[in-house]
Amino acid sequence: MKQLTALVWKEWREVRVFLWIAFGVFIGLPIIAGLEAMVQYSHRFEISTSPWVLGFGGVLAVFVAVGATCRDFSGHLEDFWRSQPVGITRWLLAKYFVGLAVVLVACALPLAIEVSIDRDKSALPLIVWFPFLWAALYGIAFLAGCLVRRTSHAAMLALAAMLLVYCLPVVIPPLQWLNVSTVTDFSTGMLGPWPRVLGLSQLAFAAGMLGLAIAVLVLSLLAVHFDWRVGSGRKMMYASLSAAILILFASAAFQLGTNMPILRQIDMPMGEQVCRIHCDGNDGYVITRTGRLIAPTPDSTVRKYECNFRTVKLTDSGIELGNPIRVASQFTYDLWFHVHAPGHPETIYYISNTGEEERETLWLNVAQLDKGIDKPAIRLWEYEQYSPNDSWPLLYASGDRLYVIASRLITLDITQPLTPRVISNVPFGYSFGWARRGNDSLTEILPPVPTLSPRQRLQAVAHPFSFEGDTLCEWLRVNNDSTLLAYRLAQLTDTRAVFKMIGQYTPTLLEEIFGAPNPLDVELQNGLLYVSQYPGNTENPHIDVFDTRGPHPLRLIGHFAAPGVRTVCPLPDGRALVGGDKLWLVGPPPHRGQD
């Protein structure tokens, strides 16, 4: 017992420096960031240690294990230890467990501090399940140290192996139960303070990692016992590192590669970029944008954007674009909340504002895109931006009626779409505001417009969002978290609609590396959700397609990456028009889920 205590004391003396360094990085730096955030943004101190621990916990495990092994296996130190009256197994086990304890304390304590201080308790599953991962990584690095016995080479090999532990389960379906992301499935940070922790997939992950840790520990003991060694050199290092990087890249390609075939494509003339697409089948239109220098000097980077309307026709031979018709540049923004005149897709209604920031005048605008005509048609009312009783109006068109719904209810006759005529204008007292997102259910108060059915009232409310049938989807961004949520209509009455959450999708680490989520268009068609992600021209703009049907809604089933992709318009037959630097007609994703 005394002998073991001495061994533990010796190991602790040698590895404790890693603990202090880890505390400095995992606790010290987040404290500084938390203080800075408290002074700048809020008066509540919150500490975010989990990004640091998740990012560098594995690296710490590698460094501790490699340092512990290579230190005593270099030169004649190994001979010294073998000559001591201490069993090699006991010596190695003391080394292993002291180092492992340092790694686990260094990683788990910062997470515990975050859970105890922050309102968001999403780090809790990490404390429970990630120690198994760190133990496996530590064990692998320990084995690398025992076999290679050169610090830098063992560390490089262990880091390459760490990449494989993270990425192979993503690439190889039979290994998916070892995927790190399964541990964080219950990490519902934005959905409530206390996430659930225990699940079958988590238990399987923990068992797998524990098994791996035990296996590499046994191999380490055997390697030292039988004096197994691996001769390492430059070639081996280059090969192992590049192989790991290629496997990582291949796994990303496997997960995020384009699987929607290009059926037709057309270059946009005059450097125009497609910003909006409207197409019901074979005919439609696009709104394009082109940037021109206001003062074309070499030093000037100030640009003026011009917007064009072009008709689009899908034919058997290709895509036909119409001539450009100049439209106001605001269409790239205000068209998000427009409505089409029924039967006249080129005629749209939207609401604009004029006047002071706090008290504005709202106008109903009519734009005839194919003629380039856009004018305010009717003055609506004075709008107080920060008043709790006033909200931005909802627009809803049905048949020959157009409804403007908010603190007043204005009903217009649009038999002549270009000259809407006010039929009634009455105080209404409706203020629209979506319920807090992220809850398991959300209830929306519907505007009690007498001439509209409950379903039409719901359509008026859900119009700016992705709503089809009974499914509503939304890409929610809270702080730095980005999550796609799907709800299904559970109850619809005259006055309210109740939705239940049926699915949630959080982008994986690989997806964030290859293009941080920045959704522009979110369109639902035939149960498939098309999302255009535009993180920037050089940061992988692309389209993601999710299946909202079946027992597991929001399965990622399609991906299409192409230059400058900004917008998508799914067509009724399963194809989709995608706009960016070109206009592409793409086929449906290969797995149609529940079809």
Binding site: T258, N537, A561, P563
Partner: protein, 230 residues
């Protein structure tokens, strides 16, 4: 000279294979799966080539020989030092051009004319290759007297960082336009940004060739000094 070239080929050919496999595989996987837009992926591959190949090639030529203690034997041969350096430079150029050439061919075969015209793909690879060669000559000259490959690699990485930062500064509108021509990244700079008006390629190539020649002569003299010391 042929013997010197054979020696370098014998020692460094595995690096050529390594570079070809890494860059070619990255281009093949990325363009085949279309994980990002073709232009973005090609720029990634080129950026990796520009950062990896000069370090890989320059550190393995002279500093590695010094580290292994074989440089003195080499300099003791009845061959002028500039010939030794010429053979090493030729091998280094092959190490820089070969992988870029393989990646370019793979890119053209997989994605030629798909999103970009072939000429645009070739232009990006050509500009990147010029930058790679320029960086290689810089690293060769600055690391020729270093005692080990590791130190040379550190200097190489430092030089990369320096030129990246310096290129951003030289491209600032307040700096005369021609000043960017001295940067190894002069042709590559702004390749992803079609707004920028690039410098005429002839001027950049002439400036880069002049700099490379000057650096090489300086490196040759430093190697001759080493011979005197040994």
């Amino acid at each position: 000279m042929r013997n010197l070239l054979w020696k370098e080929w014998h020692e460094q050919s595995w690096k050529l294979g390594f570079g070809c496999i890494v860059l070619g595989a990255l281009a093949l996987i990325g363009l085949h799966s279309r994980i990002v837009a073709d232009q973005t992926l090609i720029i990634w591959v080129n950026f990796l080539g520009m950062t990896m190949l000069p370090v890989l090639s320059s550190t393995g030529l002279v500093p590695a020989e010094r580290g292994e203690g074989s440089l003195e034997s080499l300099l003791a041969l009845p061959v002028k030092p500039w010939r030794i350096l010429a053979a090493k430079t030729a091998m280094g150029i092959a190490l820089c051009i070969g992988p870029m050439l393989v990646a370019a061919v793979v890119s053209l075969l997989v994605a030629g004319g798909r999103e970009m015209p072939d000429s645009a793909v070739v232009a990006i690879y050509a500009k990147s290759t010029v930058a790679t060669l320029s960086l290689f000559i810089w690293m060769l000259a600055l690391t020729i007297q270093l005692p080990s490959e590791a130190r040379a690699a550190l200097v190489g990485v430092g030089l990369l960082v320096f030129w990246m930062l310096a290129s951003a500064g030289l491209a600032d509108p307040s700096v005369p336009r021609w000043a960017l021509a001295i940067s190894p990244f002069a042709l590559f700079y702004g390749v992803a940004d079609q707004i920028a008006e690039p410098l005429p390629a002839v001027i950049v190539l002439a400036v880069q060739a002049g700099i490379a020649l000057g650096l090489w002569i300086w490196a040759s003299k430093r190697l001759s000094n080493l011979e005197g010391q040994s």
